[in-house]
Amino acid sequence: MFGYLLRRLGTFVPTFIGVSLVSFLFIRLLPGDPIMLMAGERGMSDERYSALLTQFGYDQPIYLQYWDYVVGILQGDLGVSFKTKRPVWDEFFALFPATLELSVCAMAFALLLGLPAGIVAAVNRGKWPDQLLMSTALVGYSMPIFWWALLLIIYFSGVLGWTPVSGRMSLQYFFPSGTGFMLIDSLVSGQKGAFSSAVQHLILPTIVLGTIPLAVIARQTRSAMLEVLGEDYVRTARAKGLSSLRINGLHALRNAMIPVITVIGLQVGTLMAGAILTETIFSWPGIGKWIVDAIGSRDYTTVQGGLLMIALIVMVVNLFVDITYGFINPKIRAR
């Protein structure tokens, strides 16, 4: 197990170097140099230009600049936003809880519906529940989620008036954000109605962001279950006269979960990409909207920092999934 851990960590380091190199080069690949980008259309005097060049280290050789950049990352320094002049690192962590809250809810939504749907489809293989569920999953899998969001807004916010159109919390409530998670903060604040307002704001974004993971998980659970249901030990259990609930629930599901766990881990990238669209549509103040806004306002240090941080999150989660997988499945370790 230890050897496996080391080997897996061994691939993490070069990928980290590569990812940091990509985000480092991003600003330098833009047309124009970073200082001119920072100055915007106003321009600046030559003295100010060379002073800034020295201040940000852009007059040094490129490999030294990269070295400073990596050292900065490791110390939690991602530079300063062109726009707000605040540290990108601080801005990221101020907004990250909003994205995390939304992603966790979306994943819970996807799992709560996707696992049972996959199991029901597998047990009823070829019959109408299977066909119905799998056609629905196909549609979900093919869904342009930005359009799906607009449809839900038209119906639930426009026609029925059940849910708000944007934001995380109704303006009438105000309380300090302790954890950054609106569900927890609103509960702690003890204000009447605050929690239900938080939930109402969460419902549509959760459905939108959870749709594709839901479809993927349902499909994957179905095929994993089908594979396991064909195994000898399941047939033995059936021959012993165990109830089908016990067979499906206990014997089959437990082993079918192994590939499903990997798929769940792989959905983190999908969630992050989905968050970009979902947050933009629902004006959800998380990192997805932050990056889109930063691209729109040419705040390139922010884009750079966001790019790096999101890639790091995806990498760390994948690393974690691989290690968990190694724990569960000894065959992987041996490889």
């Binding site: 990928t15 093919s142 342009p144 930005f146 449809l151 089908l226 884009v303 995806v314």
Partner: protein, 313 residues
Amino acid sequence: MNTVLNTNEGAGGGSADDGADDAAQARPGRFREFWRYFRENRGAVAGLCVFVFFIGLAVFADVVAPHSPIAQDRGAFLQPPFWQDGGTTEYLLGTDALGRDLLSRLIHGARYSFFIGVVVVVIAATSGVLLGLIAGFAGGRTDTLIMRLMDILLAFPSLLLALVMVAILGPSLVNAMIAIAIVLQPHYVRLTRASVLGELPKDYVTSARVAGAGTLRLMFVTVLPNCLAPIIVQAALSFSTAILDAAALGFLGLGAQPPTPEWGTMLADSREFVLRAWWVVTLPGLAILINVVAINLMGDGLRDALDPKLKRS
């Protein structure tokens, strides 16, 4: 499709399941065999029909569309479809906020979607397959280098990487297509490399090498045709991903620019009318969805027919 599958025969041994003696007859039979499997899958055939219908729309857009996609009628802003109050049969599916015929814009949008799909898949697949072949054949450091580079690309969520690349290159449809192609390419590299590594130790490759085939011949004539099945399936699936991602970029204002009748861009234009004019929002998205579902259905059918190993039981 036909020609692609036929090349499989030349390689012989490894994957050809027909007997050796009827190899001569099997040449035309390859496609028929594929079609027999494909036909069994009703969903795939339905997907194919819809796909062909959309291609027809794309090709004959100028003839089929009742109006110009960019002509504005000042007398008909946000006119609803003909079956609703206030709708006319002149604009069957209504008009958008600038008085442009929605039906005509949707029909012309099919053009952009297919253009995007084809260009992205061609760029991603050719470069990806090439890199995969090189990695698989060269092994050693070259292999490690290529695969690590692909790992780096895969560490970024695809839409985010595409967004950032468009930020560098500037927002336009061409740049969006380049970005999406780069993002999709690592999947082809991995797939090709894995199949190449699976084929290399087989006897037919060794015998070709002993017979004096050079590396290039081994790559493209001997091994590649036997790796094609998963690549074709991947091509179908990334066709739909390309359409979705291009629409998403258009929606964020970083893909095709107005007044291009690209479906995602049309959706972006219509966002402010979400609660007032359902048709300008619903219809472009529906076109994207139907298109993508059809292609994914086809992709599932292709996988079942071409590659029994990948079959989703």
